[in-house]
Each structure stands twice: as structure tokens, then as C-alpha cells.
């Protein structure tokens, strides 16, 4: 599924790197615990999280995650956007909860890692 399709399913608002929306992803991982994200070997995934700070972006950079969905309209700071742009990372805001987003994407065929 493309990230564009994902954003439509979750009523997402794209904050940056719109030009990469045709990127195809197969997996998703939902976590607020960055330590857990850092143990994932799988690539080609989106991160669904309620944790909005600079380390969310840094962790995704290290883990080669190229799309982050922030649940419940968490505030994405300017520094976060600038770091995401530097790493060609798509940031998406969704009004829905982590549970809701995860459920919708699972239903649409996005795979779970574990």
C-alpha cells in the first residue's frame, strides 16, 4: 500500500515530504517506546506513535523508518519537521488514536511485524 493510501484511510494530514507519498509500505509498528522501535530489524514500515518529540524522529532515522504517523493530533514541532525533511521522512498527523489507526491499517492489509 502507498503512504498516500494510508493517509486517506486514517484521515491523515501530511506535514512534510509530500513528494514521497507514492512510497510503498508493507508493515507497521505501533509504539511510544523508542527503545522497542530500535530493536526492529524489519524495514519498509510506518511507525504509529503518540510520542511527539525529537527522539521520535532520531529513532526513526536510525531504524530507517521513512514514515511516522502521529496519533491524536500530537503537536509536531519545527525542529522535528526540519530533522524529518533532512532525512526525507514523511510525517503525518491523524486525529485518531493509536488503536484506531492500527486497526484500520491492519484491516486494509498492512502487516504486523510480530
Amino acid at each position: 500500500m502507498t503512504i498516500k493510501e494510508i493517509t486517506e484511510i486514517i484521515d491523515g494530514k501530511v506535514i512534510c515530504c509530500e513528494e514521497r507519498l507514492s512510497t510503498y509500505v508493507e508493515y507497521a509498528f505501533s509504539s511510544d517506546l523508542m527503545s522497542d522501535v530500535l530493536t526492529i530489524e524489519q524495514e519498509n514500515l510506518v511507525l504509529i506513535t503518540g510520542l511527539a518529540n525529537l527522539q521520535t524522529i532520531r529513532t526513526s532515522e536510525m531504524s530507517d523508518i521513512n514514515c511516522i504517523i502521529f496519533a491524536r493530533d500530537k503537536k509536531i514541532g519545527e525542529e522535528m519537521v526540519s530533522l524529518a525533511k533532512e532525512n526525507n521522512m514523511i510525517l503525518v498527523e491523524s486525529p485518531h488514536s493509536v488503536f484506531h489507526i492500527s486497526g484500520e491499517l491492519y484491516k486494509a492489509g498492512i502487516k504486523s511485524i510480530y
Partner: protein
Amino acid sequence: MQFRHKISGGDFAKAGNVASAVKKILHQLNINHSVSKRIVIALYEGEVNVVAHAYSGIIEVNIDEEKIETKITDKGPGISDIEEAMKEGYSTATPQVREMGFGAGMGLSNMKKNSDSMKISSVPGEGTIVELVTYIKPNAG
């Protein structure tokens, strides 16, 4: 190729700057992606540890044709029981560190998983040294 970076304890805005710089260098050197990812993850975990627990630290990275050696030296409270600290789930992290998405007691074991060898030495009240080696060619070690 060698480089050395300083890290400030408590400065979460900059945590990851060194790992990010190393990631770019490894990419330029055309190091195998999975090897590079292991190094970068281990280094980032180490960097976050220094920021979370120590007053200051130095990261030294030494790259040769065979391997990448990383030495993280910090001035800080040290680790009194390294065996205990290596156990998953053991953490002395502050609430501030947990708010950043860390402090679950998974960092050291993830560093071990992402390196071919890891040595820790520590003097309580003075600081900790973590040395990591990752071989560039699989099975070379």
C-alpha cells in the same frame, strides 16, 4: 579513519547527532547496509545512555577495512553492577528520560545484539567505558 565527538549529559535535543553523522559517513564509505545499521543502532543507544545518565562523554569511532570500533567514555555515576544493568528491563532512568521514549532497560542488551563484541568497564562515581567492535565483512570475526 578516526573521529571523536563530545556529548553533553542531559542534552536530549542533540542526542543522536553523533550516530546520525556516523550513519552518513558509513553510507559514503559504501559499507553494507545491514552492518551499518547495526553500528548506528548500537551507537545511538550508547549516545542516548550518555545523555540520559552521565555528565559528559566522548565517542571515538575507528574505521578500518575489516571492522568498526566504537569507544564511548563517559564521566558520570558509573554502573555498580554491570551484570544487573545488562538484564533487560533493569533501568535507573529518570522520568524525563522515559518521557523521551527510553529508559525501559533495553539499551545495553540491544547494543550487545547489534555488535560483534561489547566490553563494559565502569567505576562507580567516576564513569563508564563501553567498547564495541563490529566487523564489516560478515563472518570475518
